[in-house]
C-alpha cells in the first residue's frame, strides 16, 4: 500500500527556499541523491514567484549591514531573533550575486551597469534589488532551469508531504508523501530532511498569497512536536483587489501606488487616513493602513462591495500606465481602469511571520530536520519589511542545503518503522470511503470567515476564544466529510487535506494571539491597544497531545531598541 523511495537529502517544498536548498545540496555533494517534493508544477508552485517588488541586500555604501539589521528589527517590533536577522543581512549580498552569476538571474541595472536598488518600506537606504515588478518570476524561472540541468536532483511533481517520518529515537528519517496524480502514498526515507513548504495564511477569507498553499509545513512541524514562535503575527497587505465572487479577490495592488501619491477614500469619498495618521496619510505603515481600511468598512463607510477606493488617476493616466504596467493590466483584465478611475481594494492576508523555531544554521529541535523560509519564525518578528521575504527564503534555503549535506556525510541511513505511517494513511484516506459532500466547502468558508472576523486585523480576547471553539467544531465536522473515491487527481480530497492543515495553523494563530496581551506590529488587540513594556516571543508546542503555550524574553544579542534610527515612512513593496 505504501511505496518506498530512498534518497540522501529530501527537500519538502519547491519555492525559493526549497529550490535553493536543493541546488546548494547538489552542488556541495554532486554524488548525493537530492529529492524535491513539489505540491504543484516545478517552479510554479508557492509564493516566491509572486514577488513583485524585490530583494533586500546591502551591496554598496553608504548602506551597511548594521543598517539592514536595525531596519529589520525596528520593522519587526524588536521581537525578531537577532541572530537570524544577522544571518539574513550578512548572507543576502552573497546570495543575490549567486542568483546572478551562478543561476542566471538578471536584475535591473543602473545606467552604468550596476544592480539597481530602489527605496522600499521602512528602510534607511535604497536597498531593494528587482526585475521590473516581476522579480519572483525571474528568480523562480532561473532556479528551476538550474534544477533541471542537475542530474543529482529529482523533482517529484504534484506530490505533497503529509507527515514527517521519525525513527525510534525521534530523529528525522524522511517523510510520507502523497503522489497527487496517482493518489498513492510514498514513504521517502532520507538521511536529512529540509522543511520548506512556505507557510501561507490561506485560512483567511481574503488572501494575497498563492492559493495552492495550505500551511502544510506548519502543520507537519507541529504534529511532530516542534516548537513554533510568534504564530499570532499575520501580515495583512492594505491593497488587495476587490473582485466580487472571484478567486482574483485579494490579489495585490502594489504599495508603490500609495508611495507615488495615491489616495485612499472611503465609500463617502473621504480621505480617511487623515483620522488615523494625519502626518503620513496613505504613506503610513502597512499595518496601520490595513487596520484603518478595515475599521472604515466595519463602521459602515465602505464602498458598494465592502472595500475602500484607491485612486491614482490624479497622477496622470500616462504616468500610471508607464510606472505601474503590471498593475494596470491586472485591473484592466477585470474591467477596471486604474489609470483613470478609483479601484476598490481591501486588506488581504499576505504572510505568516511566525513559524517553526530554527537556529541560524536552519536546525530545528529534531535531529536531521532543517527548516527554511515562511515555515519558520523569528526572522521578521512582528512585521515583515517588503523585500525581506524572498531574501529570507533564498538565504536560509541555501544554508539548509549546505547544512543538510554536512549532516548527511556524518550520518548513516536511518531505519524508521512503517507502522506510524500506516496509521497516518488510514486517517488520511478515510474521507475516500465516505459519500462526497459539498459540506467540505461550507467548512472551508466557515474557517476562513471566523479567522477573518475574529483573528484578523482587529482582535480581542472574546473573539479569539470564539474562534478557538469554532475551529474545534470545524475540525470535528471535517472528520465526517467524504470526497469522491478515486484518489488520483482528486481535488476534493486535496482540499480536505488542505483544510486539515489550515485548521491546525489557524488554531496556532489564535492560541498565540490569546497569549500576547499587547498590540505590536501586525497583532492588534482592541482590549490591549498598546505595546507591553517587555519584549517577548510567544511559543507554542504540542506535548503528548496537549498544546503548551509560553513566553520567552527576546535576547537582544546584536542591538537594543534605543539604537534604532528614524526610518523612512513610505511603504512600497511586497
Amino acid at each position: 500500500m505504501i511505496e518506498r523511495l530512498d534518497t540522501d537529502v529530501l527537500v519538502l517544498g519547491a519555492g525559493g527556499a526549497g529550490l535553493c536548498a536543493a541546488l546548494h545540496a547538489a552542488d556541495a555533494a554532486p554524488s548525493l541523491a537530492v529529492t524535491v517534493v513539489v505540491k504543484g508544477l516545478l517552479g510554479r508552485a508557492g509564493c516566491t514567484r509572486m514577488v513583485q517588488g524585490g530583494y533586500n541586500a546591502v551591496l554598496a555604501e553608504p548602506d551597511s549591514l548594521d543598517a539592514h539589521l536595525l531596519d529589520t528589527l525596528a520593522g519587526g517590533g524588536w521581537i525578531n531573533d537577532q541572530e537570524l536577522v544577522w544571518t539574513l543581512v550578512t548572507e543576502a549580498p552573497r546570495r543575490v550575486l549567486e542568483l546572478e552569476w551562478r543561476y542566471g538571474c538578471l536584475f535591473d541595472r543602473t545606467a552604468d551597469g550596476r544592480i539597481h536598488q530602489k527605496p522600499f518600506a521602512g528602510q534607511s537606504h535604497d536597498r531593494t534589488i528587482h526585475k521590473g515588478d516581476l522579480t519572483g518570476i525571474e528568480i523562480m524561472s532561473r532556479l528551476t532551469e538550474q534544477v533541471l540541468r542537475r542530474p543529482g536532483i529529482r523533482a517529484l511533481e504534484e506530490c505533497r508531504a503529509v507527515a514527517l517520518w521519525l525513527d525510534d529515537e525521534g530523529r528525522a528519517a524522511g517523510a510520507l508523501v502523497l503522489d497527487v496524480r496517482r493518489g498513492r502514498f510514498v514513504a521517502v526515507r532520507a538521511r536529512a530532511t529540509v522543511l520548506a513548504m512556505g507557510g501561507g495564511p490561506t485560512m483567511y477569507r481574503i488572501i494575497a498569497c498563492s492559493a495552492d498553499k495550505s500551511a502544510d509545513g506548519i502543520a507537519l512541524g507541529h504534529a511532530v512536536g516542534l516548537p513554533l514562535r510568534d504564530m499570532e503575527m499575520v501580515q495583512f497587505h492594505p491593497t488587495g483587489l476587490v473582485v466580487p465572487g472571484s478567486l482574483m479577490t485579494g490579489a495585490l495592488l502594489e504599495e508603490g501606488l500609495r508611495g507615488a501619491g495615491g489616495h485612499l477614500r472611503n465609500g463617502h469619498g473621504e480621505r480617511f487616513m487623515a483620522r488615523y495618521d494625519a502626518a503620513r496619510l496613505e504613506r503610513s505603515t502597512r499595518d496601520l493602513v490595513s487596520r484603518a481600511s478595515f475599521l472604515e468598512v466595519a463602521e459602515g463607510r465602505g464602498t458598494p462591495n465592502g472595500g475602500v477606493w484607491i485612486d491614482v488617476s490624479h497622477l496622470g493616466a500616462e504616468v500610471v500606465e508607464r510606472t505601474f504596467r503590471g498593475m494596470v493590466k491586472r485591473c484592466r483584465d477585470f474591467g477596471r481602469d486604474l489609470a483613470r478611475e478609483p479601484v476598490e481594494v481591501f486588506p488581504t492576508a499576505h504572510f505568516l511571520m511566525g513559524g517553526i523555531v530554527i537556529d541560524a544554521t536552519c536546525r530545528t529541535a529534531i535531529d536531521g530536520l532543517f527548516a527554511a523560509g515562511e515555515d519558520t519564525g523569528g526572522v521578521h518578528g512582528a512585521n515583515r519589511l517588503g523585500g525581506n521575504g524572498v531574501a529570507e527564503s533564498t538565504v536560509f534555503g541555501g544554508i539548509a542545503g549546505d547544512v543538510a549535506v554536512a549532516f548527511v556525510e556524518a550520518r548513516a541511513a536511518p531505519r524508521p518503522g512503517l507502522a506510524a505511517l500506516e496509521d497516518v494513511v488510514r486517517t488520511l484516506t478515510a474521507p475516500l470511503g465516505r459519500s462526497p459532500s459539498p459540506a467540505l466547502y461550507d467548512l472551508q468558508g466557515e474557517l476562513r470567515a471566523v479567522m477573518w472576523d475574529d483573528a484578523g486585523l482587529v482582535r480581542d480576547g472574546e473573539g479569539l476564544r470564539r474562534a478557538l471553539a469554532e475551529i474545534e467544531r470545524i475540525e470535528t465536522a471535517l472528520d465526517g466529510v467524504g470526497v469522491p473515491p478515486d484518489p488520483a487527481l482528486n481535488t476534493a480530497w486535496q482540499d480536505w487535506l488542505n483544510l486539515r492543515s489550515q485548521c491546525v495553523a489557524g488554531r496556532l494563530v489564535v492560541t498565540s494571539a490569546l497569549a500576547r496581551d499587547e498590540s505590536r506590529g501586525a497583532h492588534f488587540r482592541r482590549d490591549f491597544p498598546g505595546p507591553a513594556s517587555s519584549l517577548y516571543s510567544v511559543h507554542v508546542q504540542r506535548r503528548a497531545g496537549d498544546l503548551h503555550v509560553w513566553r520567552e524574553p527576546v535576547a537582544l544579542t546584536r542591538a537594543a531598541p534605543e539604537a534604532a534610527t528614524p526610518h523612512a515612512t513610505v511603504e512600497i513593496g511586497d
Binding site: 504543484g40 508544477l41 516545478l42 517552479g43 510554479r44 508552485a45 508557492g46 514567484r49 509572486m50 550575486l97 546572478e100 552569476w101 551562478r102 543561476y103 542566471g104 538578471l106 535591473d108 541595472r109 543602473t110 545606467a111 552604468d112 551597469g113 539597481h116 521590473g132 516581476l134 518570476i137 525571474e138 524561472s141 532561473r142 528551476t144 532551469e145 538550474q146 533541471l148 540541468r149 511533481e157 496524480r181 498563492s210 492559493a211 495552492d212 473582485v243 466580487p244 465572487g245 472571484s246 478567486l247 482574483m248 490579489a251 491586472r330 483584465d333 477585470f334 474591467g335 462526497p436 459539498p438 466547502y441 470526497v483 469522491p484 478515486d486 487527481l489 482528486n490 481535488t491 476534493a492
Partner: protein, 252 residues
C-alpha cells in the same frame, strides 16, 4: 450584480480507462466571473470529480493554462464576460500528455527547455557581479523576451510542436535567445549546435501562433527571427566579443 446570468460551460472530460467526452454544466456568472471561478464552482457544488489545475490564481504561475473556445488562455485572468455570450468550451492544452480532464503532464515542456540548453552556464572566469548597462543593447534585446511564466500555451498553439517531437518549441527557443545574448553565459557554443541542428531554428514556420497566445505579451516569433539573424552573422564570422552577436535592428 450586473451581467449576471446563467452560462453553459462544456468541459472536456477524460479519466484513464474511459473515453473522451464533453460534459455540460451551467453556472451563474457575474461581471467578474472568470473561467477558473466557473470551474471551481462546478467542482465544489456540482461535480466534485472534475480535475483541473491552478495555483496562484492571479496570473503569475501559469498553472491554469487551457484552451477556451478554441484558444489558449489563462483561466484565472479570463472573464466570461470578456469572451462574449454563448456557450463556453473548455479543453486541456494540446501537445501534452493528458492525465485527466483538464490536467496535462507538463514534463515535455521542461524536457524541451533543458534539451535546448535553456539554463545559464556560469562562466568560470566572469566576475560574480557583471556590469551590464541598464539601457545598453544587451538589456534592450533580453528584457522584452525574459518574462516568460512557463505556462506552455505557446507549445499548445504551435503547429510544429505537435509535428516534430525534437523541435524545442517557442518557449525554449525564446529562452535560448536571451541566453545567446547574455554576456555572462558560457554555454553558447553547445547551444548553437542544438539550435542549428535540423530540428530547431530551421523548423519554425513563422506562423506566429505562439506570439498570438502568449499571456505575457512576449514574442517567441521575434526571438526566433533574431536567433536566425545571429546565426547568420555567426556563420559569416561577424561575432562580437564573448561570442555575442549584435541583434538585428528593432522592428522585427
Amino acid at each position: 450584480m450586473v451581467d449576471a446570468g446563467r452560462r453553459v460551460v462544456e468541459v472536456r472530460r477524460w479519466a484513464p480507462g474511459g473515453a473522451e467526452r464533453w460534459q455540460r454544466y451551467e453556472v451563474d456568472a457575474g461581471a467578474d466571473t472568470t473561467v477558473l471561478d466557473a470551474l471551481v464552482e462546478i467542482q465544489r457544488r456540482q461535480d466534485p470529480t472534475l480535475a483541473f489545475r491552478y495555483a496562484c490564481r492571479v496570473g503569475m504561475c501559469g498553472s491554469c493554462a487551457m484552451v477556451v473556445n478554441g484558444r489558449e488562455r489563462w483561466a484565472c485572468r479570463t472573464r466570461l464576460a470578456a469572451l462574449g455570450g454563448g456557450r463556453l468550451q473548455v479543453r486541456p492544452l494540446y501537445h501534452f500528455p493528458l492525465l485527466r480532464d483538464l490536467v496535462v503532464d507538463m514534463a515535455p515542456y521542461a524536457a524541451r527547455l533543458a534539451a535546448a540548453g535553456g539554463a545559464l552556464v556560469p562562466s568560470r572566469t566572469a566576475a560574480p557581479y557583471a556590469r551590464i548597462a541598464g539601457s545598453g543593447p544587451e538589456r534592450a534585446a533580453i528584457d522584452p523576451a525574459i518574462e516568460c511564466i512557463g505556462c506552455g500555451m505557446c507549445l499548445s498553439a504551435c503547429t510544429m510542436v505537435g509535428h516534430n517531437p525534437r523541435f524545442p518549441g517557442p518557449a525554449a527557443l525564446n529562452r535560448a535567445f536571451t541566453l545567446q545574448r547574455d554576456s555572462r553565459d558560457a554555454g553558447k557554443a553547445a547551444r548553437w549546435a542544438t539550435l542549428l541542428s535540423d530540428d530547431a531554428l530551421a523548423r519554425c514556420h513563422g506562423q506566429g501562433a505562439c506570439t498570438d497566445v502568449c499571456p505575457m505579451g512576449l514574442s517567441p516569433t521575434g526571438s526566433i527571427i533574431r536567433l536566425r539573424a545571429m546565426a547568420t552573422r555567426r556563420l559569416l564570422g561577424l561575432e562580437g566579443p564573448q561570442g555575442v552577436v549584435d541583434p538585428p535592428p528593432p522592428g522585427v
